[in-house]
């Protein structure tokens, strides 16, 4: 029966981790703008253009 204390202890630590994650999310500004992400999410990702010959010197553009 004593194991329940261990379990509670661990679950509190895990839950605390989630709280820390929430703090981080607020801190990084995710809650400053609650509207625009709802628009962003609806965009399609651009399909990369298929090229038949692969040029070794071409650089890929990474989306930031």
């Amino acid at each position: 029966m004593g194991v329940i204390f261990l379990l509670i202890g661990i679950s509190l630590i895990v839950a605390g981790g989630f709280l820390a994650a929430f703090f981080w999310a607020v801190r990084s500004g995710q809650y400053d703008d609650e509207y625009t992400p709802s628009v962003r999410i609806l965009w399609d990702d651009k399909k990369p253009e298929n090229s038949t010959s692969i040029d070794n010197n071409s650089t890929t553009v990474n989306k930031p």
Binding site: M1, G2, F5, I8, L12, A15, G16, F18, L19, F22, F23, V26, R27, Y31, D32, D33, Y35, T36, V39, R40, L42, W43, K46, P64
Partner: protein
């Protein structure tokens, strides 16, 4: 005079621009089988296409901003390190973060394009849009691109940044109160976990030795809730008590402390399991209420002062050429240049021969003033016509007309005390609870001292400030949201209470009772033929005078001919040759009118080839149903009218306003402010309804300053409420709704009272177990939330206000954007 609708065949139907969606009437360009309304639009389309940004046109139809009027703004001032420092958020050697305000952002495509700015401007690494605030934050490498280049590029694609002096002086405050989110996180986390750990208690399972540890854990989880989550309530209650006044936070704090103290004793003394779940729940619900109440409208600004109207930089004649320098650096003695539609930023003497200045901005006078070389021009006036030069006589901050802002109405912050009603209730409540606690203690102390302590703390615990504290946030918070849905925006829920206490309403005339730039135009004289109308329109189109512009719009069904020899005589009129005929548009003098004098109404006279043809009379169009609106408001409020104009409308106004109301004309901004003060000295509670900066003083001084506008991007002076002008006819009902919401709040308080009675009946008998408390608290909170939300919404429906037409904000036109930059 409206034409009857005409059947238009498909071939005649005007094509619409692929870029901006407007009809291609005056010009029409076809490129690659696509229609464009002007070169500008086609050009932007080309840029986007060349850079693989066609997706812009797929996300939303015709998302572009009309490019018919393009002015290349000189962004040279963005190279100045001093200015850069004030604008950018963060700088390091390889990364600079800057946030621009782009009023032209209006749709999803805009967001998409701006967030793909890196494709258009090398050096930009990322950009993020905040749609509601119409801002974009750009990260760029200063070694690859300059701030100036970015601004120029933004302007090229139609999203010119709005840069004004007000922004330079803005302190960089964190936009959102993040602390509330942290507090919510902590309270929610602890609340949930405490309830989990209290499960055995709820299920009635007998605890053994080990279960004491659950209680200790609960206590430990409750500690951050008390110390961090409830911080603001504790502080506020302390302030209230220290200053002798009881506010709503006092009973809340009493409840919280009673919960904590009782729980501490119970847990550590092993008498029971404490009330930590109720404590955490109480704080959690309170914080949610606070979050709900704190709603702000990001796309509006309630805080602009005159500096927001001034450009950041201005052209100064230095060392034999025109250079752009920051406005703050302008000194008396310098020669500056002001272009058409720009604001004069400093008092000075006119150097160019003659011009007209529109002072409606500052004084409310709608007729432009004619000025000659050597006359003094005051800051705040808008230049009409070709560019003028001024020799500055006073520094920018010391202009004559703008001294209004030194009045204490602006320097003292408007009272920000929380809700009066809540505080009053809080006072009665605290007294009542303490009395009941006292009586309970006396009753039980005779019989069983232990029981006495138990019951007293129970009373304090269950007194349920929760329900009381949630009534106003959810009711008024919802009222604010519902009003905003109808395009009436309040600065905060506190304004609702101010509106409920009003006794007197003061109106401005021009722009408030009359629609801005909306004239009823009638021609007097032998009617013009179609050919003659074309002549008149062509000349009017070329003139920059606001009346000419109105004439151009009035005649817009006629074609535009090409004109030659266009000449403008300031204060008199314009002339040009169209189709071989000399047309003159302007004053009676200028056109050779036989009998001048048009009983004070504004008019524009016409002569063609030396023959006088007649004149157009302009009558301000009053807003729809204005008479009814005034009459309805007159039933409940005293009314006044203050106008910056002359008294030519006196008779018409007198016929509508109640006989006892004060009507004053030729009011300067300071006069309006003093009038409001005089009313307040006579114990009146005043609402000022205005639209321009000439009302700024009155708006600031009155209890409620309401601004009417049709374009939220138009800079509006500091105010407490902003309303769309299409809502003017419904103003009495909206005010009535706000007043009736007070009854909803009373209903909420009545509900709270019921809960208290039930809860107290348990408490005084000493039967308040943690379980009972844990049940009553959430039930009362949830009921309060549901009641507040539904009752206020229901009230809106009962008053039929949910059927109000949805007013459309005017999208900022491109030419408006160029007004405030050099």
């Amino acid at each position: 005079m409206k034409e009857s609708p005409v059947e238009i065949s498909v071939s005649e139907r005007k094509p619409t621009c692929v870029h901006c969606g407007e009809a291609c009437d005056t010009t029409h360009i076809v490129h690659n089988d696509l229609d464009f309304c002007c070169e500008g639009c086609q050009w932007v389309y080309q840029i986007l296409h060349d850079n693989n940004l066609q997706e812009y046109y797929k996300i939303q139809q015709s998302p572009g901003i009309n490019q018919r009027v393009r002015e290349a703004t000189d962004y040279a001032f963005l190279d100045e390190p001093e200015i850069q420092q004030k604008i950018i958020d963060y700088a390091s050697s390889h990364l600079i973060k800057v946030t621009f305000h782009l009023p032209a952002i209006h749709c999803a495509s805009c967001i998409w394009l701006l967030e793909h700015l890196y494709k258009l401007v090398p050096g930009v690494s990322r950009s993020q849009v905040d749609f509601l605030r119409k801002k974009v934050t750009i990260h760029y490498d200063p070694t690859q691109v300059t701030l100036r280049r970015i601004a120029e590029m933004l302007e090229h694609i139609g999203y010119a940044p709005s840069l004004n002096m007000g922004q330079l002086e803005e302190k960089k405050l964190p936009v959102v109160p993040r602390k509330l989110y942290y507090q919510l996180g902590v309270a929610g986390f602890c609340f949930g976990n405490i309830m989990l750990l209290s499960f055995p208690e709820y299920l009635g399972i007998e605890g053994d030795q080990a279960s004491r540890w659950f209680n200790y854990l609960n206590w430990g989880l409750g500690l951050p809730v008390l110390l961090y989550g409830a911080q603001d309530y504790l502080k506020s209650a302390w302030h209230g008590v220290k200053n002798g006044g009881l506010n709503m936070d006092v009973p809340i704090t009493l409840g919280i402390i009673a919960l904590f103290v009782r729980s501490t004793i119970d847990i550590f003394g092993n008498y029971g399991s404490g009330y930590m779940d109720s404590l955490a729940g109480l704080v959690f619900f309170l914080l949610i209420g606070k979050w709900f109440q704190q709603k702000t409208f990001h796309h509006l600004s309630f805080d602009r002062d005159y500096k927001s109207y001034f450009p950041i930089a201005i052209s100064v004649w230095q060392e034999d050429r025109w250079t752009t320098i920051p406005l703050s650096k302008v000194e008396p003695g310098q020669r500056i240049q002001i272009k058409n539609n720009q604001l004069i930023p400093a008092d000075g003497i006119l150097l160019t021969p003659a011009t007209q200045i529109d002072y409606s901005f500052v004084t409310g006078e709608s007729d432009p003033v004619f000025k000659r070389a050597g006359d003094t021009l005051y800051a705040g006036g808008k230049q009409i016509g070709s560019p003028i030069e001024i020799q500055v006589t006073k520094a920018v901050g010391q202009s004559y007309l703008l001294q209004l802002w030194e009045d204490r109405a602006f320097t003292q912050k408007k009272e920000t005390r929380d809700h009066r009603l809540a505080d009053q209730i809080g006072t009665y409540f605290t007294v009542a609870i303490l009395t009941i606690a006292g009586i309970t203690f006396l009753y039980w102390s005779g019989k069983d001292l232990n029981m006495a302590l138990v019951t007293v703390t129970s009373v304090l615990i269950i007194a349920c400030p929760c329900a009381l504290a949630l009534a106003i946030p959810f009711t008024y918070g919802n009222v604010m949201r519902l009003l905003a849905d109808k395009n009436m925006y309040l600065r905060s829920t506190r304004i609702i209470e101010e509106i409920q206490r009003l006794t007197h309403i003061v109106f401005d005339k021009t722009g408030t009772l009359t629609a801005v730039n909306d004239y009823h135009i009638l021609f007097h004289g032998t009617p013009l033929s179609e050919a003659e109308s074309v002549l008149v329109r062509s000349v009017a189109h070329a003139s920059t005078h606001p009346l000419s512009h109105q004439l151009d719009l009035y005649l817009n069904k006629y074609q535009l001919g090409s004109i030659e020899d266009f000449r403008e005589e300031p204060g008199q009129g314009v002339t040009a040759r169209v189709a071989g005929q000399v047309v003159r548009i302007g004053s009676a003098n200028w056109t050779g009118a036989p009998n001048p004098g048009s009983n004070g109404k504004q008019s524009v006279h016409i002569s063609i080839d030396g023959t006088y043809r007649g004149n157009y009379l302009y009558e301000s169009r009053y807003r729809a149903s204005w008479r009814k609106t005034i009459k309805v408001l007159a039933r409940d409020y005293q009314l006044s009218l203050l106008s910056g104009d002359g008294d030519r409308e006196l008779r018409r106004i007198r016929s509508v306003f109640p006989a006892a109301s004060t009507i004053l004309f030729n009011q300067k901004p300071k006069d309006k402010l003093e009038y409001i003060r005089a009313l307040q000295d006579a114990e009146q509670r005043v609402m000022m309804i205005g639209d321009g900066i000439n009302d700024a003083g009155a708006l600031q001084a009155s209890e409620v300053g309401l601004v009417i506008t049709e374009d939220i991007n138009n800079f509006t002076p500091a105010s407490d409420a902003i309303i769309h002008n299409g809502l003017f006819p419904y103003l009495p009902q909206l005010i009535q709704y706000t007043r009736l919401s007070r009854r909803v709040v009373f209903g909420a308080y009545f509900l709270a009272l019921l809960y208290n009675v039930v809860g107290l009946s348990f408490a005084v008998q000493g039967m308040l177990s943690p379980l009972v408390a844990a049940v009553l608290m959430p039930i009362s909170s949830v009921t309060m939330v549901l009641y507040g939300l539904s009752a206020s919404t229901l009230l809106l429906r009962i008053m039929k206000l949910n059927e109000l037409p949805q007013a459309d904000w005017v999208q900022t036109k491109v030419d408006d954007l160029y007004q405030f930059t050099t």
